[in-house]
Every structure is written in structure tokens, then in C-alpha cells.
Symmetry: C2
Subunit: 124 residues, 2 copies
Amino acid sequence: MPLKMRRNLSPKPPEPCMLTECMQVIAGAWAPNVIWSLRAGRRRFSELKADIPPVSSKVLSARLSELEERGVLSRHVRPTSPPSVEYELTELGQELIPALEAIVQVGHKLKLMRAHELDSEAAE
Amino acid sequence: MPLKMRRNLSPKPPEPCMLTECMQVIAGAWAPNVIWSLRAGRRRFSELKADIPPVSSKVLSARLSELEERGVLSRHVRPTSPPSVEYELTELGQELIPALEAIVQVGHKLKLMRAHELDSEAAE
DNA sequence: CAGGATCCACACAGATACTG
DNA sequence: CAGTATCTGTGTGGATCCTG
């Protein structure tokens, strides 16, 4: 499930829209899901991977790096015998949660609307 | 500026994450920008194209169709001599505005943080 | 366990040209 | 003006394999 989980960057030019630039923060496949999974608190790499089954290690790793670099989340390495790394949203990262929640809400409502429309059609 | 303005779909599989599904609503290159441009009210095709310079007619058209189909915006054709079409956010579409604003805010803050960090480094 | 390296496919945006 | 059709390039994610 990736073919369309692309980012929202802009390679070369004038970048007239600030929004585009800001959208980069959550750009990249699965990035929103990562943030979503971290809502409740810090999680380990494997936990995140389990939360988002279809994501591959490579991509998850890449996304985590980007999000860390962008200041959305922080990485904590714990010196245990089997390596253990935890990720956590930064304060700024937490500000993204309401945004994602709003999107989910709208998505939900639209879904309900569609279901309702289908019902109406079926009734005829 | 498009190479990375891809959508956030998911082609085939199990789709375990509701978020992913909801994100589709604003999926596709420039989709957020379109919604952003329509914040203030209805706009015509050419106005939208002017608002978002780097977008091509083809892509803008595609995005508008998708957003309409998804119930985020509505299309009004006006029977004038030169064809004139206006687009407008639906009620649900308007609910996405706060979400985008939140993202922009975070993007902004992160930008400021970065600038600050660079200053600190430069000072040394 | 956490994640880096490779190789590959393909969906998507761009450019251009055309229509009513 | 508002779009559509076609062709092409490319970034990005998936799968797999491998390591400390």
C-alpha cells in the first residue's frame, strides 16, 4: 500500500505557497500514521511497526529519521542488550495531533454520508 | 515542483489504519493548496490556477474532480459566453481548514526554531 | 531488535497540444 | 475559459537481504 503514499514536496522552484512547505512536515508515506501512533506516548521501533502493519522497516526508518530531523519527534536510545530505541513526539509534534484528528473527523463524516447515500439508492 | 507532491493512497491491501483512509481526503498533489485557496470563498478555475502557479491545468483539474467526488467541494457551472466554472468548499470541506491551519502553524514554529538554531551556531 | 543497502516497479505530476 | 488526451521522466515505496 504505497504506490500512492508519496510525500508532498516540491523539487525545484519558487515555492509560492507556504502551505506546501508546511505540509512537508507530515510528508512521506506513513508519516501521519507514525504521529498518530505516538499520540499516546513513546513507543519502540517494533511497536510502531506493529501498529502500522503494511509499512516496511526501511520506510518506517526513513520516516522516523525525517520526522526527527524536522523536530517533530525525538529518539531515545536505551543501552540494553538487545538494542532498544524509543520515539516520542516533541511538543511541536504534539500540536499536529489536533490537525490529524480534524482530518479523521472529516473523513469519518464523509464516509457516513456516502453510506447514507448508498442506502437511499438501494431503497429505491 | 511536483515530484514529491504525491498522494497518500494505498493501492492494495488490508488498510488497518483508519487515518490512512481519512488522509485520502486531502491526498494528491496540490489538494491542500486548493482547499487553502478556497478558504475565503468560491473561486474560478483560472483563479485557482493563478493562486497556485506551479500547478498544471491537468493536475488542477484532476484534483478538483477528486475533491468534488469526495464531497469536499462543489462545482458550479455558470452559463456565460466564455465558460465559467466556480468551485466552493462544502460544509465538510470547511472543516478541513482548521486542520490545515494547525499544520501551517506547526510548520511555522519549526521554521522559526531552525532559524534560531542557525543563529546560535553562527554566533559562535 | 533496530535499521542500512540494493534493486525494481509504477503511479503520479509535467509539458504540450487540442477542443468546445 | 475550462478542461482533456497523450507521452514521458522520476521519485518514492516495497521486498529482500544483511549487520551490530
